[in-house]
Amino acid sequence: MWARAVRLGLRVPLGGRRGFTSKADPQGSGRVTAEVIEHLERLALVDFGSREAVARLEKAIAFADRLHAVHTDGVEPMESVLEDRCLYLRSDNVVEGNCAEELLQNSHRVVEEYFVAPPGNISLPKLDEQEPFLHS
């Protein structure tokens, strides 16, 4: 599977570094900084909440870092594990929809067949306003 050297010669730029290894790398020890945590919490709307959660994250990164042991020089990266599959093309026919009632049942609040959401995006509180658990 790795010997897929004969690809279409398309250099896929690794845009948007996946994983957090790149950010943690400069520390060397795999520590994740408070800024990174705050950034992640904003982006993913995840609340790390406690020191244990951050430690768990650091362990996960260290575990994934072991991938570096594999020698991948000159090997074209895969796009996904499905890249050999055929992408199925659907005919342009209308076969779904018309189930507003069913869908709206999922919503906590509904107004005249519209889903109800809070107004716009609510900003998260800044880091200094949060519980400073990371500094303790």
């Binding site: 982006l43 199925y88 209308v94 929809g97």
Partner: protein, 558 residues
């Protein structure tokens, strides 16, 4: 009635000029050089009369504006990009939403073949390189109308790259000549549309309708080769015509099928590019031009006053005619792009690479699509010029006005008159009347058949051209009369009786001996006076050329 040929209706700005002359800081005087009257009108600084006609001196700073466009065109298809729910403009809220569109767990995207074909057609029409392999990615951000929390798009490897869009812009003193310009197309990618949010500030809530969520979009990214509002508007108009000719999108800006965002910056030529702002909420071509020009001026003024430009998103307020900063946009977004794990790469083939025995429904042959491309606007224009001998600017006008080309072709079909005559009548008289009353072609009270009949009468010399104009005016009143009826009612037929005309000429000459003397003396204008007198006597029912010939013959006999 000689009405002008349609001009591109922008508040005349750049006229093919990229530079806008600013003034040096120490003298906050008027705008100078070749700025337009619109700018002068807007600027409150344009009071000092001393500097209005001053040419820019050496060392004075010129400004160049750089405009890049991001265009989203809704693909014209029956169903959505990744699901089988219907694409339709107005429908009860959330009635055209499948489980996938609502992002319910366990649903997967299934690519719509028609959307891929639409993307390939558009890429080919814009001279792009079609990527035989393209990839889908997820772009993550949180908003109520994006139920999945991400949009499926093509960030790494889009379906088409490196194309060009050629458009024609009016130049010259009377904007009568057309010159072609090109803007490079950076890429075209397939992506999902989001739902619609209705903000209810009163009750502090947002109402979400997902009917639009998942509809296929073509995102076209243009390189910043444009330099003013007029160029941008013309380029977008040409793109609209191309998309409509291809049938890939109806490209109606008012209905949101074509959305344009503009990135605008200014800089001094030779120096690095300035900070750019993004202008959104442009829902007509006219506002697009206005907004860009306003933003260019705003940035120039700001920089000349020592301020700085923020890299922000601004909205165009069409009532005030200005751009304002948008709320609810927090700095730089990190979209955390990742490959879409549920979709393998999209592979396209051409005739040589088509796998043998492949299911034709499951493969897309780019060569086949290229062969089946309909006639593009630029080709149509060229054909009109060759076939009917019209000028390039005429062909531009014919295609630019909705329904005008069809009208023109219908008249041509039904009339014996020369194409040049038809062109002149359609572009000058017919269009002139339409513009005066701000009507669209389909609202015209005069049908193509009626005009054809009128031109036949003119062609057979049954009426004079001035009589024809009168008939046209009557036809415009839409009282249900045919041209022939109007001619007989108003007695506009040309005098056919040669002898009676000759007699009239003789009696006019007898009645105005002093004018005859003038002619004999060699006064070149006197003959026109005579012709005028005869025409009056005939109540405009004689061809002036015929009158002239008769008079000259009679005068030479004396």
């Amino acid at each position: 009635m000689a009405a002008p040929v349609l001009r591109w209706g922008c508040p005349g700005t750049c006229r093919a000029i990229a530079w806008v002359y600013g003034v040096p800081r120490r003298r906050r005087g008027a705008w100078t050089g070749s700025t337009s009257s619109w700018i002068r009108g807007q600027s409150s600084l344009a009071q000092e009369p001393l500097h209005t006609s001053r040419k820019p001196r050496k060392g004075e700073h010129k400004w160049a504006a750089v405009v890049g466009l991001e265009i989203h065109a809704q693909i014209s298809s029956n169903s959505k990009l990744f699901s089988g729910s219907q694409v339709c403009f107005a429908a009860p809220p959330n009635s055209l939403v499948s489980f996938f569109d609502a992002s319910l767990p366990g649903t997967l995207p299934v690519l719509n073949r028609r959307c891929v074909e639409a993307a390939v057609m558009t890429g080919l029409a814009l001279n792009c390189h079609i990527n035989k392999k393209s990839l889908f990615d997820r772009k993550h951000y949180f908003y109520a109308d994006l139920p999945a929390g991400y949009q499926i798009t093509q960030q790494r490897l889009p379906i088409a790259v490196n194309g060009s869009l050629t458009y024609g812009i009016c130049v010259g003193k009377r904007r009568s000549q057309v010159t072609t310009r090109t803007v490079r197309v950076k890429q075209i990618q397939l992506e999902q549309d989001s739902g619609k949010s209705l903000h209810d500030d009163l009750r502090s809530q947002t109402l979400v309708d997902l009917n639009r969520a998942g509809i296929g979009l073509l995102e076209l990214v243009l390189e910043p080769d444009l330099s003013c509002g007029e160029e941008a508007a013309t380029a977008v108009r040409e793109l609209q015509l191309i998309l409509q000719a291809l049938g890939t999108s109806q490209a109606n800006m008012a209905e949101g099928q074509l959305r344009v965002d503009a990135n605008v910056s200014v800089h001094h030529p030779g120096e690095p590019l300035g900070v750019r702002t993004e202008v959104k909420n442009l829902n007509s071509i006219r506002f697009l031009a206005k907004a860009i020009d306003y933003e260019i001026q705003r940035q120039i003024k700001e920089l000349e006053n020592g301020g700085e430009i923020l890299n922000e998103t601004r909205s165009f307020d069409y009532k005030l005619g200005c751009t304002v900063p948008m709320r609810d946009k927090e700095g730089k977004q990190d979209y955390r792009f990742m490959p879409e794990p549920n979709l393998p790469p999209l592979l396209l083939y051409d005739t040589t690479s088509l796998p043998a025995g492949a299911d034709s429904q499951q493969v897309i042959n780019v060569d086949q699509i290229r062969e089946r491309l309909p006639e593009l606007p630029s080709v149509t224009r060229e054909r009109l010029i060759q076939q009917y001998g019209m000028l390039p600017e005429h062909s531009f006008t014919l295609l630019n006005e909705v329904g005008l080309l069809e009208f023109f072709q219908n008249v041509i079909k039904e009339t014996r008159a020369e194409p040049k005559k038809v062109t002149s009548w359609v572009l000058n008289t017919f269009l002139g009347y339409l513009k005066l009353q701000n009507l669209a072609v389909r609202e015209s009270p005069v049908t193509a058949s009626a005009l054809a009949e009128l031109l036949d009468l003119l062609d057979s010399k049954a009426i004079s051209s001035s009589a024809a104009k009168q008939v046209f005016e009557e036809l415009w009143k839409n009282e249900g009369k045919t041209p022939a009826q109007i001619v007989s009612e108003k007695k506009l037929e040309l005098m056919q009786d040669q002898e009676a005309l000759e007699q009239l000429c003789r009696s006019v000459m007898q009645g105005h001996p002093e004018v005859v003397m003038d002619v004999k003396k060699g006064n070149p204008r006197a003959i026109n006076r005579l012709i005028g007198l005869v025409r009056k006597a005939t109540l405009g029912r004689a061809d002036p050329a015929v009158i002239k010939a008769i008079l000259e013959k009679q005068l030479s006999c004396h």
